[in-house]
Amino acid sequence: MSLSVRLRHAFDAFSVDAAFEAPRGVTILFGRSGSGKSTIVNAVAGLLTPDHGRIELDGEVLLNTEAGLNPPPHRRRIGYIFQDARLFPHLTVRRNLLYGRWFAPRAARHEDMDRIVEMLGLGRLLGRRPGHLSGGERQRVAIGRALLAAPRLILADEPLASLDEPRKAEILPYFERLRDEISVPILYVSHSGSEVARLATTVVALEDGRVSRQGTAAEVLGDPMVMPLGVRNAGAVLEVTVAAHHPDGLSELDAAGIPLLLPRVPYPVAARIRIRIPAQDVILARERPAGLSALNVIPATVESIREGGGPGTIVSLSTGAGRVLARITKRSAEMLDLSEGGAVFAIVKTLSIAPEDIGGER
């Protein structure tokens, strides 16, 4: 199961020139709006014909502009979950869900309707029409509809972007289940660090239509040289294990021997989860601080200090738990006399880790 994409396409004021490989699992195309993410997924789906390109899915050539090969969308068997759901307003939820099944080859209809309905919690909605659904419900139906069309690949173009925060929190776990329970690879477009931290098996960072970095979520989000969303939204990802749930509403996590305290996480003890630590919320100290309200103090070594044009710097830290990024001012960096290889302590407030930045297998 792998997707290989190479394409070039010029718009009036902007061009895309990107190549990447998406192995199984969730591959996230990560970047600001206008970085070329949607162009790429639309070319994969067949909704846009790029100037030049070659797209291969499991060895089958889906697009080859050199050879004039560009089959229409309905021959590609690629499920597409749109940002705006695009449910058919004249059909009930049940008939929306079954729409693609009818066109799929009989042998490929392996997804069971009942299982999808159960997984996405759609049982109560089947008889309704899309006009009567909330935004979150609509998006769940759209996910089910794409799955039931027996796709070989699922595309999701910012499926959470038009939802408010509570709805996002409602839908994101379904994508985690998709990743963990369905064998179909997913190409997912996002400009949210949280979504990358929680969902990505592979991240492809895009800047101005070019791939600036490809790797795991921890590699890409922890790379101080790659910040597709700018320093303000930087934040590294740590893989941790749930160690205990305490009665005061906190959960204790084990980050390779370093204990971390977070607001209670909805995962059982021993579950492997990922947490994203916003670089803005990390404080640095030269000595282990005493008399401090923050609960998490992580010993670290300075790997690199990246200065930008503004008053801030991004300090990349190597810790026993993995790489952590800290965004502090240049003045603080000078005051602390930070240098590469120097020992520091990274301090993270327990409450600064938002629930949307915590995810894993349930």
Binding site: P73, H74, R77, G79, P89, Y99, F103, R129
Partner: protein, 230 residues
């Protein structure tokens, strides 16, 4: 209905038959033309647009005369069609053809408007789910434009019921063959003492037009409710 004379009754029945056939037979062409105008871009598009709308702005007599030239027994199309047994000249079929041509612009406009209101993104979504273009049209586009199609059909039916100028020029005014309600009213008004008959037909014309309008309202409200899912 004994308050209608046989000649009047004949005219009403013929008008209904002519208008019904004119509407049903032109509907597929109306949908095709509306689709072409709303969705496709091709070199002759302004020409097609003009051609479709021409009967709306030309004097009906001109349309009727052109039909006579083309579809008359000695016309270039009429002659060919006669070979295969289709005759328009001075038959009720000719009246239906004239009515269809005159009503066509109204039908196409209504359907085109509703087509332009359909979000192409829904059709894209259907394509990604495996539907070919024809299936996208049948399962998504057509159900969504149904209110417009019905409105267009009813408008065309009402227009066909009232068509006079092109019909009388093309197929004349033969009782029982091509004498529709408007032609009959015209004929009654030409003879002394015909006003009562004419008035009865006028009343019937008003009732049919009103019924068509009410039916179209009722259908479009129902269909719109079903389509919007509200």
């Amino acid at each position: 209905m004994d308050w209608l004379g046989p000649e009047e009754w004949q005219a009403v029945a013929l008008s209904l038959k002519v208008a019904l056939w004119a509407t049903l037979a032109s509907l597929p062409f109306g949908i095709l033309a509306a689709y072409a105008l709303a969705r496709w871009s091709f070199p002759g598009k302004p020409l097609l647009n003009g051609l479709v709308h021409l009967p709306l702005i030309m004097p009906p007599v001109v349309t009727g005369y052109l039909l006579l030239l083309a579809f008359g027994t000695r016309g270039w199309l009429g002659g060919a069609l006669q070979e295969v047994g289709i005759v328009f000249a001075f038959r009720w079929t000719g009246a239906a053809l004239a009515a269809a041509v005159m009503a066509f612009p109204l039908m196409v406009r209504a359907i085109r408007l509703s087509l332009e209101a359909v979000d192409p993104k829904l059709e894209q979504a259907a394509a990604t789910l495996g539907a070919s273009r024809i299936w996208v049209f049948i399962t998504v586009t057509l159900p969504l434009i149904l209110p417009g199609v019905l409105a267009g059909a009813i408008l065309a039916f009402a227009k066909a019921m009232g068509e006079f100028g092109a019909t009388i020029t093309f197929v004349s005014n033969i009782p029982g063959q091509t004498q529709t309600v408007p032609s009959a009213i015209y004929a009654f008004l030409q003879v002394p003492g015909g006003e009562t008959s004419a008035l009865r037909l006028v009343a019937i014309a008003i009732v049919i037009a009103m019924a068509a309008l009410l039916a179209s309202e009722w259908i479009s409200v129902r269909v719109a409710r079903r389509v919007s899912g509200a």
